[in-house]
C-alpha cells in the first residue's frame, strides 16, 4: 500500500507537449507509472512518448479512464487547467507549475475541495510511491521501497533527505512534496492523516521550513491523532527574517512561524527534530 499513488493510478499529463511535459512523461513512464494520456489544446490526435494527446481532459478521461493528472501548463493558464481536471472528476491533481498567483491557487483549491479532488501543490515536486509510480518531477533514482512516509514543503531538500534515507537502507511508502507556496491544495495535516491510516507506513518524516504556521498546526495534529513516530527537520534556523510590511502577518502568526516556534511545537508533540537534514537517517536508526 501507499498513499495517493497506487496500483489503480492512471495519469494524464496536462501540458504534455511542452518541454517539461515531455521530459517528465518519459521519466514517469520509465519509473513504471501508468501514464495513459496527455492534454494539449490544439494538439489532440498526436502522441508524446507513445501516449495519446487529447484536446480536453474530459475527452482524455472518457477514452483512457484516467483518475489523476500532472499539470505542467504555464502559470497564467494553470488555474483553468486545474479547473478542467477537477471538473472532469479526477481524484488527484498534482500541480507542478510555479509562480501561480495566490488568488488563482485559492480558487482552484476551493473548487477542488468542493468536488472532492485532492490537489498537491502548486509549486511542488509531486508524489512518488516507489512501489507504484510517481506523479511529478522527483528524480527517480533515489527512492527505495520501504515503510517510511515522507512529507515535505521543500523540493530539493526532500531529495536530499530521501537520498540519505535510501543510502541508509530506509525505504519509503510514499513521498509527498506538498509545495512551498502559501496556498497549497494539501497541507501537512491532510497528508499526515492519510499516512496515519496507511497500514504499510510505519514511520514518518516531515520536512518543514520557516514561515507560516503549518508546522505548528501539524504538531497539534500529531499530538492528537498520529500514533506513528515522526522525525522532522525544519529548514531556516539561521535564515534572516524577511522585512515584513504591515501588522497583519504579526497578528496571524502571534510569534509562531519561526524555526524555534516550529521545533518547540513539534518536540512538544513527541516529534524527533533533527538539527541537520542529513541527521534524519541516523536518528531513525537510533544512532
Amino acid at each position: 500500500m501507499a498513499i495517493m499513488v497506487g496500483r489503480e493510478t492512471k495519469v494524464i499529463v496536462q501540458g504534455i507537449t511542452g518541454h517539461q511535459g515531455q521530459f517528465h512523461t518519459k521519466s514517469m513512464k520509465e519509473f513504471g507509472t501508468k501514464v495513459v494520456g496527455g492534454v494539449t489544446p490544439g494538439k489532440g490526435g498526436s502522441a508524446v512518448e507513445g501516449v495519446p494527446v487529447f484536446e480536453t481532459v474530459h475527452e482524455a478521461v472518457e477514452q483512457t479512464g484516467a483518475n489523476s493528472s500532472c499539470i505542467f501548463v504555464p502559470a497564467r493558464f494553470a488555474k483553468d487547467a486545474v479547473f478542467e481536471a477537477v471538473n472532469a472528476g479526477l481524484g488527484l491533481v498534482v500541480v507542478i507549475t510555479e509562480h501561480i498567483p495566490f488568488l488563482d491557487a485559492m480558487e482552484f483549491v476551493n473548487y477542488a475541495k468542493l468536488r472532492e479532488t485532492t490537489v498537491i501543490g502548486p509549486n511542488c515536486p509531486g508524489v512518488t510511491s516507489p512501489e507504484f509510480g510517481k506523479i511529478g518531477i522527483m528524480p527517480s533514482k533515489m527512492f527505495a521501497k520501504g515503510d517510511v512516509g515522507v512529507i515535505s514543503r521543500s523540493g530539493t531538500l526532500t531529495y536530499e533527505i530521501v537520498n540519505a534515507l535510501t543510502e541508509a537502507g530506509i525505504g519509503q511508502t510514499t513521498c509527498v512534496g506538498i509545495g512551498g507556496d502559501p496556498i497549497i491544495g494539501s497541507n501537512f495535516v491532510e497528508v499526515l492523516s492519510r499516512f496515519e491510516k496507511d497500514r504499510k507506513t510505519k514511520r514518518l518524516v516531515m520536512v518543514g521550513e520557516i514561515g507560516g504556521t503549518a508546522e505548528e498546526e501539524a504538531a497539534e495534529y500529531i499530538r492528537e491523532h498520529v500514533s506513528k513516530p515522526v522525525f522532522a527537520y525544519i529548514a531556516g534556523r539561521s535564515a534572516p527574517q524577511g522585512k515584513r510590511m504591515g501588522h497583519a502577518g504579526a497578528i496571524i502568526s502571534r510569534g509562531r512561524g519561526t524555526a524555534e516556534s516550529k521545533i518547540k511545537a513539534l518536540e512538544a508533540a513527541g516529534v524527533v527534530v533533527a538539527q541537520l537534514p542529513t541527521d534524519i537517517p541516523g536518528l531513525m536508526l537510533g544512532k
Binding site: H19, R76, E98, H99, I100, P101, F102, L103, M106, E107, V109, N123, C124, P125, I137, M138, P139, K141, S152, R153, S154, G155, T156, L157, T158, Y159, E160, N163, G180, P182, I183, V207, E209, I210, G211, G212, T213, A214, E217, Y233, A235, G236, S238, A239, P240, Q241, G242, K243, R244, M245, G246, H247, A248, G249, I251, I252, R254, Q275, P277, T278
Partner: protein, 377 residues
C-alpha cells in the same frame, strides 16, 4: 521551484502614497495629499500638514520620519530634514504631505492572504494604531471572506467590532467592500489600513495604508512596473533572472537550488561556524546561462568564498557545472569556489568542474566545513 526570500511570500511593496492612490481609485476615502521628492517640489498644500517619509520599513514614526508643519516654509524645511534621513537602512527618497486629521478614534482593518484558512482573511479591531499586534486576539475580529465574495454579514461584524453607529457603519461597509474589490482586482497579498481613522467630524478615512501586490500576478498588472525601484541594483538583476537573492552580513556566498536546500545550507554553515554573506537560489532551471549569470551576480556581491551546493533533480548537476565553467572562462571568477554536487548527472558535473580546477565533494558536511575554512582565510 523558486524560493521565497526567507519567511516572506513573494510580493511587491507599494509606498504609502502609491497605496493611497490605488485606494482612492477604488473609492476608499484617503486624506488629501501630495508627494514630493525635493523640498522645491512643494508648492502649496492645506495647512496644518503632516510630512511623512515614504519608506517600506516599519517604525517610521518612532524614527522621526513623520513631522508636522503649519506653513509652506515650515513644510519645506521639515521635508528637507526627512529627505536627508536613512530609516533602518532605507534611504528616504520622497515625502508625502498630507492634511492633518482630527482623530476621534483609531481603528484597524486589513485583508491578507491567509495560508491556514486558504482564504482572504479580513481582520478588524476597534483598537487600531501602531501596536495592533499586541492587542489581545479576542479583540480582533478575523473573518475569512467567503470565496464567493464580500458578504453583507461582514458589515454587521465590522459594526460590532468597531462599535459604530448606523451612519459610520455604512461608511465602513462601503470602504471594506471597496477594499476587498481592490484586493481581488489588483491581486494584493496585503491591504492594510492602520489606523483607519474616525474623525471628530464623523468621517471614516484611511490614514495610513500598506499594500503589497503578489509578484506572480504582476503579468496581469503591468502598471506596477514603475514600483519596482525599492530594490538594490543586485536585487533587481536577481529578480529579472528569477533568482532568489538575499544579502546578509557574513562572507560566504551560497549558491543552491531550491528554497529548502538553500536554507538548510545556511543552517549547516552556521552550525559549522560560518556565516553567509549572500545567498542565491537558482530554483529549477535547465539553462546553463542562468547559472552563469548567477555567478556573475555572486561575483559582484563579492563574498570571500562561494559555496555551491547542488542536489540535482529538475536542475541537473551537469547543467550547473556547464554554467560554472562558462562563468569561470568568460567572466573570470576570482573568488574560491567550494562545490558539493549530488543527484542527477553528478558524475558528469564533477568531471566538468575538475577540468576548470574545482574539486567537488558529495558530502554536505565535509563541503560545508571546507567552505567555512576557506572563508576564514
Amino acid at each position: 521551484m523558486a524560493a521565497r526570500p526567507v519567511d516572506e511570500v513573494r510580493n511587491l511593496k507599494l509606498f504609502e502614497y502609491r497605496a493611497k492612490q490605488l485606494m482612492g481609485k477604488y473609492g476608499i476615502p484617503v486624506p488629501r495629499g501630495a508627494v514630493a521628492r525635493t523640498p522645491g517640489e512643494i508648492l502649496s498644500v492645506d495647512y496644518p500638514v503632516a510630512v511623512k517619509a515614504q519608506v517600506l520599513v516599519g517604525g517610521r514614526g518612532k524614527a522621526g520620519g513623520i513631522k508636522f508643519a503649519d506653513n509652506l516654509e515650515d513644510a519645506k524645511s521639515r521635508a528637507g530634514e526627512i529627505l536627508a534621513m536613512n530609516i533602518k537602512g532605507e534611504r528616504v527618497k520622497s515625502v508625502l504631505l498630507e492634511e492633518r486629521l482630527e482623530v476621534a478614534r483609531e481603528l484597524y482593518l486589513s485583508y491578507v492572504i491567509d495560508r491556514s484558512s486558504r482564504s482572504v482573511l479580513l481582520m478588524a479591531s476597534g483598537d487600531g494604531g501602531v501596536e495592533i499586534e499586541n492587542v489581545p486576539q479576542e479583540r480582533i475580529a478575523m473573518v475569512p471572506v467567503p470565496p464567493f465574495g464580500y458578504s453583507p454579514f461582514i458589515s454587521k461584524i465590522l459594526k460590532t467590532a468597531f462599535g459604530l453607529n448606523d451612519d459610520q457603519s455604512k461608511q465602513v461597509d462601503a470602504l471594506a467592500r471597496n477594499l476587498y474589490g481592490m484586493f481581488i482586482s489588483e491581486d494584493c497579498e496585503l491591504a492594510e489600513i492602520n489606523p483607519l481613522v474616525l474623525t471628530a467630524g464623523g468621517q471614516i478615512i484611511a490614514a495610513d495604508s500598506k499594500v503589497t501586490i503578489n509578484d506572480d500576478a504582476l503579468f496581469r498588472h503591468p502598471e506596477f512596473s514603475e514600483d519596482m525601484d525599492d530594490l538594490t541594483p543586485l536585487e533587481q538583476r536577481a529578480k529579472q533572472e528569477d533568482i532568489a537573492f538575499v544579502q546578509l552580513d557574513g562572507n560566504i556566498g551560497v549558491i543552491a537550488n531550491g528554497a529548502g536546500l538553500t536554507m538548510a545550507t545556511l543552517d549547516i554553515l552556521t552550525i559549522n561556524g560560518g556565516r553567509a554573506g549572500v545567498f542565491l537560489d537558482l530554483g529549477g532551471t535547465d539553462d546553463p546561462k542562468k547559472v552563469t549569470r548567477a555567478l556573475a551576480l555572486m561575483k559582484d556581491a563579492g563574498p570571500g568564498v562561494i559555496f555551491l551546493n547542488i542536489f540535482g533533480g529538475i536542475t541537473k548537476c551537469d547543467t550547473v557545472a556547464m554554467g560554472v565553467r562558462e562563468a569561470v572562462q568568460t567572466i573570470g571568477i576570482d573568488i574560491p569556489i567550494v562545490a558539493r554536487i549530488r543527484g542527477v548527472n553528478d558524475d558528469i558535473a564533477r568531471e566538468i568542474l575538475k577540468e576548470i580546477g574545482i574539486e567537488s565533494s558529495t558530502d554536505l558536511i565535509e563541503a560545508a566545513r571546507k567552505a567555512v575554512k576557506a572563508a576564514v582565510k
